[in-house]
């Protein structure tokens, strides 16, 4: 067994509800950033909590670098650190006290912990906030303190659940820069519902929907799943066009999204220009891949959407 993160038929049920995770199997190398992408309730947090040894699965197995997540728990816990989705800083502590206490919990001696705090604070530029009570810190700094807290450990595998949710774009960009730097030395498994985040950071991307793994691969590999290289979004529907190659989806707001080949995109573009329609055309992005993959199973399940597809082609 090499440096791999492997899941075999992982399933998690909470009571009699539909499974939060259903038969998830995959194997990836533990290097760089692995982003788990999905809508709210897709199963991202459940999967990450199982892998981080916080939650027992209903069935299936998982291993990290050859260590069984459910049998070699002690060994794994020495090598991982977790930043939970809803983690909040203890308000009466300062960043220094927060990091120091967590290092003590990790089992470091007092002297070791104190020296590691210095390095960690400097690394993420938190020096000027080190003695400010956590309750007085801004949301972005609080997130950085949490990130610094898990980075201060010797853990080389980090599980980070929605690290940038609720942060403004500038702070988010800062954190992305930190994560990009970190991935050189750590394996980071992060969950996000920001497609841009996954696109910018991830070396591998897994897309979850309703507890199932819809797709897994690099961005290029995921692009090939969509099969079409171009996406056209027509802002006003009802146009009399026909996609010779590709697929079209009518959105709830009346706009139409078409996935097609470069050649057909050229032809459609000319037609739309002639008809003076408002539209945009661009190479398929992770947004498109995500909508394509996530919408597909939903549409397969509903007659209404099938009817809409027929209407679209009749137009």
């Amino acid at each position: 067994m090499g440096d791999l993160l492997e899941c075999r038929n992982l399933t998690k049920r909470y009571g009699k509800e539909a499974p939060a995770l259903e038969d998830v199997s995959f194997s990836i190398e533990t290097k760089g950033i692995f982003a788990l992408l999905g809508r709210n309730g897709a199963g991202k947090t459940t999967l990450i909590r199982i892998l981080a040894t916080e939650l027992e699965p209903s069935s299936g197995s998982a291993s990290i670098n050859g260590m069984d997540v459910f049998k070699d728990t002690d060994k794994i816990r020495e090598q991982i650190a977790v930043m939970p989705q809803e983690a909040r800083l203890v308000p009466w502590l300062t960043p220094r006290q927060t990091i120091y206490s967590y290092l003590l919990y990790r089992g470091f001696g007092r002297r070791d912990a104190a020296s590691k705090v210095e390095g960690a604070l400097a690394k993420l530029g938190l020096g000027k906030y080190e003695n400010t009570p956590n309750r007085h810190l801004s949301g972005g700094v609080k997130r950085r303190v949490l990130m610094t807290t898990i980075l201060a450990t010797d853990a080389k595998i980090l599980f980070v659940d929605e690290p940038t949710t609720g942060l403004d774009p500038l702070i988010r960009a800062d954190l992305w820069a930190n994560l990009n730097e970190l991935k050189k030395t750590h394996f980071i498994c992060l969950t996000t519902h920001y497609l841009e985040e996954a696109e910018r950071l991830a070396d591998m991307i897994g897309i979850l929907e309703s507890g199932r793994l819809l797709s897994l691969g690099t961005l290029d590999q995921l692009r090939s799943v969509v099969r079409y290289q171009y996406s056209i979004r027509i802002l006003q529907g009802g146009s009399s066009f026909e996609t010779r190659v590709g697929e079209a989806i009518r959105e709830a707001d009346g706009s139409i999204q078409i996935f097609t080949t470069e050649e057909d995109a050229d032809r459609l573009t000319e037609q739309l220009v002639k008809e003076k329609k408002r539209f945009s055309v661009y190479p398929v992005s992770l947004d498109d891949i995500f909508y394509y993959l996530v919408r597909k199973p939903i549409e397969e399940d509903t007659r209404r959407n099938s009817a809409e597809q027929r209407d679209l082609h009749e137009d």
Partner: protein, 247 residues
């Protein structure tokens, strides 16, 4: 890396007691004065007659509150800060965490215990055996309340629920139980209700130890047996019911 379990215990004491009292001095003040409210009341009503017993009662209250309030701290750490999630996925062991949190409860009670111990030395004359007995009772009642705190924290899903538990427990452990006065002050039919509270047995032993409550050897033995049994049962339930990794 060699993992220091002592560091892990120390971490809980720092977060949940030392840093809290240092950064929020109001909690230190609150920790000191909390056990005195009933003590002062009893002293005034009894014109000082129940001074020894009420100091002892305040000591028992401090031990009980420390353990019972622990469930609020545990709920805070688990549900609000997600600290427990971070610790589950770390080399921290559940027992070390429990021990650390229990020690933090004791540390929080320490300011009050110090003041009350000084008062006890001044006004209670227990002798070596009596002192040892009282210390034993305090240790047992603290262990009992800590176990209770842990057990309730596994049932409570948010802080509001846990606060409700504390209110109910305060009535059961500190109001129904005659810890600030002898049980003989309670009219007989109602006295039996007091025996529903484990704190009553602790109070009886402690009051007997300072010579304020005559007890037969068999009654004394029953008090010890009940106290030890209840504490053991609670610890057993805690170890069975609580879970470190979510099921």
């Amino acid at each position: 890396m060699k993992i220091s379990r002592l560091s892990q215990v120390y971490a809980s004491i720092l977060i949940n007691a030392v840093y809290e009292m240092r950064n929020y001095p109001i909690t230190l003040a609150s920790n000191i004065i909390a056990p005195f409210s009933v003590l002062v009341l009893i002293l005034l009503v009894s014109h000082g007659v129940l001074l020894g017993i009420s100091i002892e009662g305040a000591l028992i209250t401090a031990m009980i509150s420390g353990g019972v309030n622990l469930q609020i701290d545990l709920s805070h750490m688990k549900n609000d800060f997600k600290l427990q999630d971070m610790l589950v996925s770390s080399p921290t062991k559940p027992f070390t965490y429990m021990l650390g949190m229990a020690m933090s409860a004791l540390t929080n009670a320490l300011p009050a215990l110090t003041v009350l111990t000084i008062l006890a030395f001044m006004f209670i004359h227990a002798g070596p055996t009596g002192t040892l007995t009282i210390l034993g009772v305090f240790a047992l009642i603290f262990a009992f309340s800590v176990a209770l705190g842990f057990m309730l924290s596994t049932f409570g899903t948010d802080i509001q629920q846990n606060r409700a538990f504390v209110s109910i427990l305060t009535v059961i452990l500190a109001t129904i139980a005659p810890i600030y006065y002898p049980i003989t002050y309670i009219p007989l039919p109602i006295r039996y209700v007091a025996y529903l509270s484990p704190a009553t047995y602790a109070a009886e032993i402690a009051q007997h130890a300072i010579g304020d409550l005559p007890l037969s050897a068999s009654n004394l033995a029953i008090d010890w047996i009940v106290l030890v049994t209840v504490s053991c049962v609670l610890f057993f339930v805690v170890t069975k019911k609580s879970h470190w990794r979510d099921p």
